[in-house]
């Protein structure tokens, strides 16, 4: 068990907690900044138009999937930039679970490697549109 103990010393629960905390903070900050930049652009272009959330039409296809959102944002479409910020926000807790998985692997904590892999699989399955809408 020497190697196990050494691994735990290098990646103690407390150190992992600090890393998880930093990751969450950076994720939320970056996502908010990206979305806010898109929001300012959008208001500059469409601020005086009338609002339309009364009736549900569903977003256009280019704002529904990660790939097309990234393309739209790189084409500097304001609504796609906001949506990219929101996708980064959704990705933040997913990145947190991925970091937890790395930590459990380094700690050689078999039970939690399995537990965390299950959660990560469910999250990726959802974000890549595995469930019929």
């Amino acid at each position: 068990m020497t190697t196990n103990a050494e691994a735990r010393e290098r990646w103690s629960d407390d150190e992992v907690d600090q890393l998880l905390g930093n990751l969450l903070r950076i994720g939320v900050t970056v996502a908010t900044i990206v979305a806010a930049i898109g929001g300012v652009l959008y208001l500059a272009q469409h601020g005086t138009e009338p609002m339309g959330h009364r009736v549900f039409h569903g977003e256009p296809p280019e704002l529904r999937h990660v790939g097309s959102i990234v393309r739209g944002a790189s084409g500097l479409h304001a609504d796609a930039i906001v949506q990219l910020g929101l996708v980064l926000l959704i990705a933040t807790p997913i990145a947190r679970v991925a970091l937890s998985l790395v930590a459990f692997i380094l700690q050689r904590d078999r039970v939690y490697i399995v537990v965390t892999s299950i959660v990560l699989a469910i999250l990726l399955f959802s974000l890549t549109g595995g469930v019929p809408g």
Partner: protein
């Protein structure tokens, strides 16, 4: 649908953005000050006050829930209260539940969703009016708690205090239900999560609230993917809601120390009851 703000008509994108940001800020501030969470009043506010379609409102609420829980979890996890192993284990239940809830939301009518929402609001108001007692024990842990290394310690003024985790399967089951409600209604389901972790699993309050908060972002992320693919996350609505609630929650957390929140809790609980009745009425009447 007729709504309160129809008098200001036609509302421009800019005015709508400002009003929704201000409303979301208040919701986030009150939610943080009273401990009820701001997410639960976002959907009623958007639908009843701003006349937003329920499906867009839930998508926007879900995004704001991820922002506030991740923002707060960043601070809590560093302070050593959060039990990451309990959180990871229960996230299996909440994420599977959230997928089910989001799937269900696309299959049942908005009237039924509004009725469930009203009932959850009523339960949350009741819970905040009748706080539960803390149960912490240092022995008699559930056999699974030992095997899964769930028992841990938390910081107190007298140093690190150990605690034993009870009723792991029952807590897991209730978390599945909390996940379904989160995916169906776009909320954090904090009231149910705390019930499972405080009352069933006997975690200390500080541990259960911070661990619940830690899990809320992951739970909401599980259903957010489905809402995104279904076109229910509207950037121009979700952005002001998310920024408003986040700023309100951060402000609330800053002024929380030393504030007497008893009166505020009562007022907020009363507001929640009114919103609950309105949601139930609209849902049954078919006005959603």
């Amino acid at each position: 649908m007729a709504c309160v703000l129809d008098s200001i008509h036609p509302m421009s994108v800019l005015l709508f953005t400002i009003l929704v940001s201000a409303g979301s800020f208040s919701a986030g501030l009150l939610g943080a000050l009273t401990g009820l969470g701001g997410g639960i009043v976002i959907v009623p506010m958007l639908t009843l006050l701003f006349g937003v379609d329920l499906r867009y409102a839930i998508g926007a609420s879900l995004v704001s829930v991820i922002a506030t829980s991740s923002g707060a979890a960043a601070a809590y996890v560093k302070e050593g209260y959060t039990n990451v192993r309990v959180g990871m284990l229960l996230e299996i239940a909440t994420t599977v539940g959230a997928l089910g809830g989001a799937f269900l939301a696309g299959r049942i009518g908005t009237g039924a969703i509004a009725v469930v929402f009203g009932l959850v609001l009523l339960y949350s108001a009741y819970r905040s009016a009748k706080p539960l007692a803390e149960h912490v024990s240092t022995d008699n842990a559930h056999p699974l708690a030992k095997r899964l290394r769930l028992n841990s310690t938390y910081p107190t003024p007298d140093g690190l205090q150990p605690y034993a985790v009870q009723a792991v399967p029952a807590g897991f089951g209730l978390m599945f239900l909390a996940g379904i409600l989160s995916g169906l209604l776009g909320i954090g389901s904090g009231a149910l999560k705390v019930l499972a972790m405080d009352q069933m699993m006997h975690l200390p309050f500080k541990v259960s609230t911070t661990t619940s908060n830690f899990m809320i972002g992951v739970t909401a992320a599980a259903s957010a993917g489905i809402y995104l693919a279904r076109g229910q996350i509207d950037p121009t609505l979700a952005l002001p809601v998310m920024l408003g609630v986040l700023a309100g929650a951060l402000t609330g957390a800053r002024v929380l120390a030393g504030a007497n929140t008893r009166v505020l809790r009562r007022i907020f609980a009363a507001v929640v009851v009114v919103l609950a009745l309105e949601m139930l009425y609209k849902g049954i009447q078919g006005g959603m």
